[in-house]
């Protein structure tokens, strides 16, 4: 018998059917994630059918899209969601605590080796700690809430081997944008992307979250990191002790394809409108004046991201033509950023903080773009019209690039070149 990948093993371990050769497996799940916007869509059916939740302790719910709501209609939707969740007596209902995907990875429901489904495509991000996690629609999630089960095909796996030493100016976002450039928007469709971190210094956990998050932009069903000492350290610090059941691939695991990526010379990457797959090295970009800079979203609103931006803007001023909005991915991240002084540094530089939520990422809340706006964003999607007006333009980049562009007032090919002049007469250190 040939060796198994991580997703092969995790699905086998969760299979309920005896017939393991069936195209679709009936599987049990370890956790379910839901937020206000998608969960609200299933409440009427749930109540009409008189259903009950199979195991409330395994469900994590939060309001993050409308948090707090900006219109009366959204307040009503939010209240419907919160009223239902409270009525069900959900133990893990998190009110205004941040973006659901970040709250999941901050919670002990999210473990290596777990099988997790959520009513949002970026549920895949939990793969950064070695879980097989995937997004589904409201109807699938309603079924799972009632039964604890779902159906899944065993996906083929693509191994991504990351090697070399990541330059200081680059991060997980640049890695995943480079993978998008190599594989395209459908490059991992229906596949499990299995990440093997063989870099010399090992990618920090926050970089792994950024990579796993955007695996869905490559079309993947799972984006799972082979668990290692970084995973164990993260989970142990979070849970007080290590509770996971790390699943690693067999040495002779069968992959449909192996992608080797040496990150040693990886420079900043930018995805141009209107596709996350439209990626170029920043040095090949023409100069793009911007009106808006956004640091946030489930893709990149974590402490390391805010720290990188704070380091860039320390003692400098955001360009007067730019609105720089920062949204920490969770209240916990916000508190850590406060304690570390990053919030003050960024605020002094002219950035503004919004409450932990999706914000302008999905064109939902404060910071939405008008027709003439050009935004550089650390979010995960620059689809046409997603952040606001149909004619607005969004460039996806790393938090560091977002901060540099906010200072410069533009995305420029020389944003990382030593000594490039910045407004206010300051010189870049690197």
């Amino acid at each position: 018998m040939s060796g198994r990948t991580i997703s092969d093993k995790v699905i086998d371990e969760h299979t309920l059917d005896d017939d393991r050769s069936a195209q679709y497996r009936r599987v049990r799940v370890d956790a379910v994630l839901g937020h206000d916007a998608t969960t609200a869509l299933l409440i009427d059916d749930f109540e009409r059918r008189g259903l009950s939740i199979w195991d409330k302790s395994k469900v994590l719910l939060t309001n993050d899209h409308f948090a707090p709501p900006a219109t009366a209609e959204r307040a009503d939707i939010s209240n419907k969601f919160l009223g239902w969740a409270r009525g069900q007596g959900m133990p893990n209902l998190m009110l205004d605590k941040g973006i659901c995907h970040q709250l999941l990875v901050e919670h002990e429901l999210c473990q290596p080796g777990g099988l997790i489904v959520g009513a949002d495509s970026h549920t895949i991000m939990a793969g950064a700690v070695g879980a097989c996690a995937t997004g589904m629609g409201a109807t699938d999630i309603l079924f799972t809430l009632a039964t604890g089960e779902t159906w899944m095909r065993k996906p083929a796996s693509i191994a991504v081997r990351l090697r070399g030493e990541l330059p200081e100016e680059s991060g997980g976002r640049d890695v995943v944008l480079e993978l998008l450039r190599l594989l395209g928007e459908a490059g991992a469709q229906y596949r499990s992307l299995e990440f093997h971190d063989e870099t010399t210094t090992r990618l920090p956990q926050d970089d792994r979250f950024a990579i796993a998050n955007m695996a869905v932009e490559i079309g993947a069903k799972f984006g799972v990191f082979a668990p290692d000492e970084v995973t164990e350290a993260y989970c142990t610090a979070r849970d007080g002790r290590f509770l996971g059941n790390p699943v690693r691939p067999d040495a002779d695991a069968v992959y449909e394809r192996v992608v080797e990526l040496d990150v040693t010379d990886l420079t900043a990457r930018v995805a141009k409108p209107w596709s996350p797959g439209n990626v170029v090295p920043i040095t090949e970009l023409e100069e793009i004046p911007i009106t808006s800079a956004f640091l946030g979203s489930c893709a990149s609103g974590r402490l390391a991201d805010i720290a990188a931006a704070a380091a860039e803007v320390e003692g400098k001023r955001v360009h007067p033509d730019v609105r720089f909005v920062v949204i920490p991915a969770s209240v916990e991240v916000f508190k850590q950023a406060l304690r570390a002084g990053y919030v003050e540094t960024l605020t002094e530089a002219g950035a503004q903080f919004n409450h932990s939520s999706c914000g302008a990422c999905g064109g939902i809340d404060k910071g939405v773009l008008g027709s003439a706006d050009v935004c550089v964003s650390s979010s995960n999607r620059n689809f046409r019209g997603r952040m606001g007006h149909w004619d607005s333009r969004t460039y996806l980049a790393s938090p560091r690039t977002v901060a540099r562009a906010a200072l410069r007032g533009a995305l420029t090919p020389d944003l990382y070149r030593a000594g490039a002049a910045l407004p206010g007469g300051t010189e870049e250190a690197s």
Partner: protein, 166 residues
């Protein structure tokens, strides 16, 4: 629910994402608002001119992006009969199937070039054929057993234990 559908063809390209299919500004629990949002930024005429039974024909990776089922609801509320694409994004395909919107792929992708925008076609989801006005038949990939089971039940929720179809 999976009876043949007859209507006009609307053509789309590759990588049509859910934010284009249904812009976030039209997210709502109000069916009329959801219905009006279909392809709003891309071409507001679509929601105005689409007729019951019409068929969407697209390229690769149709429906990539968000898991919001409002994109499926918008297509269904406009009574589009089926979607044919070279292939579908995973979550979109599941959502559509769960809600009884047939999504089919051509047996030979190049055949979709024969299907002209605005032409009248008849699509039979069970027989897996798309018949053009001039009688040309495009073979589609027959739906798998699991998809047919959900169609036969009238949607995934009818497979819940204790439901009529379960």
């Amino acid at each position: 629910m999976t009876a043949p559908t007859t209507g006009r063809v609307w053509r789309f390209g590759d990588d049509v994402n859910t934010d284009v299919i249904h812009p976030p500004a039209f997210y709502s629990l109000d069916p009329d608002k959801v219905r009006r949002g279909l392809f709003h930024g891309y071409d507001p005429a679509i929601a105005r001119d689409v007729r019951p039974g019409d068929v969407f024909v697209a390229g690769r990776n149709f429906g990539c992006g968000s898991s919001r089922e409002t994109s499926i609801r918008a297509i269904k509320l406009n009574q589009v009969g089926a979607v044919v694409a070279v292939d579908f994004a995973r979550i979109f395909f599941r959502n559509a199937t769960n809600n009884g919107l047939p999504c089919l792929t051509p047996a030979r992708p190049a055949d979709l070039d024969l299907v002209e925008a605005g032409s009248r076609v008849t699509l039979d989801p069970v027989a897996a054929t798309l018949t053009c006005a001039d009688g040309t038949v495009v073979d589609l990939v027959p739906p798998g057993e699991f998809v047919r089971r959900i169609w036969a039940a009238g949607g995934l929720l009818n497979l819940l234990p204790g439901s009529a179809g379960g």
